[in-house]
Symmetry: C2
Subunit: 213 residues, 2 copies
Amino acid sequence: MKEQSNISLNQIRRYPVYLKILRDLKKTGETHISSPVLAKMMNSSEEQVRKDLQVVSKDSGKPKVGRNIDGLINDIETFLGFNNDTDAILVGCGQFGTALLRYDGFKSYGLNIVAGFDNNQSIIGNTIKGKPVYSVDELEKQISELGVKIAILVTPASVAQEIADRLVDAGVIGILNFAPTVISSKNENVVIEEIDIASGLALLSHKLNLRNR
Amino acid sequence: MKEQSNISLNQIRRYPVYLKILRDLKKTGETHISSPVLAKMMNSSEEQVRKDLQVVSKDSGKPKVGRNIDGLINDIETFLGFNNDTDAILVGCGQFGTALLRYDGFKSYGLNIVAGFDNNQSIIGNTIKGKPVYSVDELEKQISELGVKIAILVTPASVAQEIADRLVDAGVIGILNFAPTVISSKNENVVIEEIDIASGLALLSHKLNLRNR
DNA sequence: TAGATTGTTAATCGATTAACAATC
DNA sequence: TAGATTGTTAATCGATTAACAATC
């Protein structure tokens, strides 16, 4: 594992893709993978693959053989912090929020959603996939009781910033924002990551436009 | 509008963020915005904002005033192709798929979902928010009848590639892939965009790790 | 061994940043 | 006018790509 001096955001974005591919490969029974082969699957170059993997992995690949898939999966998970499970809460149990609450996939990325919050009386008190839904009024109380530091925000745009502020005040240091608005925090120690379907749509749309010229 | 010779993916990814901010600003009643102010909201530099906006906009900003918000919104929408509504289908009406079907937000990005597909007999024939759910058996037939070119893939990983192949064979040229696996197409004219919650989670996790050192 | 694959070092390419004259 | 803001041109920075010796 090299000194992770300066890694570009693009590079970090690639690791989950490696992870997906490697996990798929593992299922097929493969034990090793070479960078040229992996590069093809990643739609990138073998040089880039090697550089990327060198950053996260302590051991090196063997000529003619490649790298061990299990080891790589573990290295990437460790590097991204997906290995040690982290508890998180989810605010906004609407369509999307509920789908996310039910979604098992977060576990494979080290995130464990322990509770949901909403202001809709008809669902407060319910459990969704074993996870309790609390009133947003209890946000501060539960954050401190549960001791969570990560929140997933799936509220309407209109209240996203307000809720984000409350989350931060209550001790949250990382927010994954699905709400369709850009939020911010005065506290620069807080990490906010915007997740937006539109950016994928923008890329798709743009590439299709280029194609049609 | 300049010759859009070579625009980086990062740059394209920024436009939906501009769009979100500008739409928010418009709601507050603002009519103009300067690049220094917009830069602050974007967490970037005024130079970059100016360059980005110059690429998509034919008219220029006025010193002391900035740029017209309505104009910018329109320019970005046009540039990204969000202006002319495009029909799309959605395959896989599970938790997420159904949430996406119900989601109104796609409209503001120029995408109009006209139908869903699933293999679950208990929901085939239903309508979700006015959109019919067909059997996947009818995929090819409906694609040709509806004349759609874009598909949103929300199936389990295990069948994603198989469905993607069928979509492409039936005439689809753009796929937005939410399935948790990387898909590809032999047809290099087909544009596939992977949407992965994990990449956001990876960035969040990595930034938090950096913070804690 | 021969050759595929490796890791590293150097070259290129491109995006971001800085500087500055122009302008409302 | 004065000054904020503009667009453009040049400088810097960093990531990607290419080249190559090392090795299983």
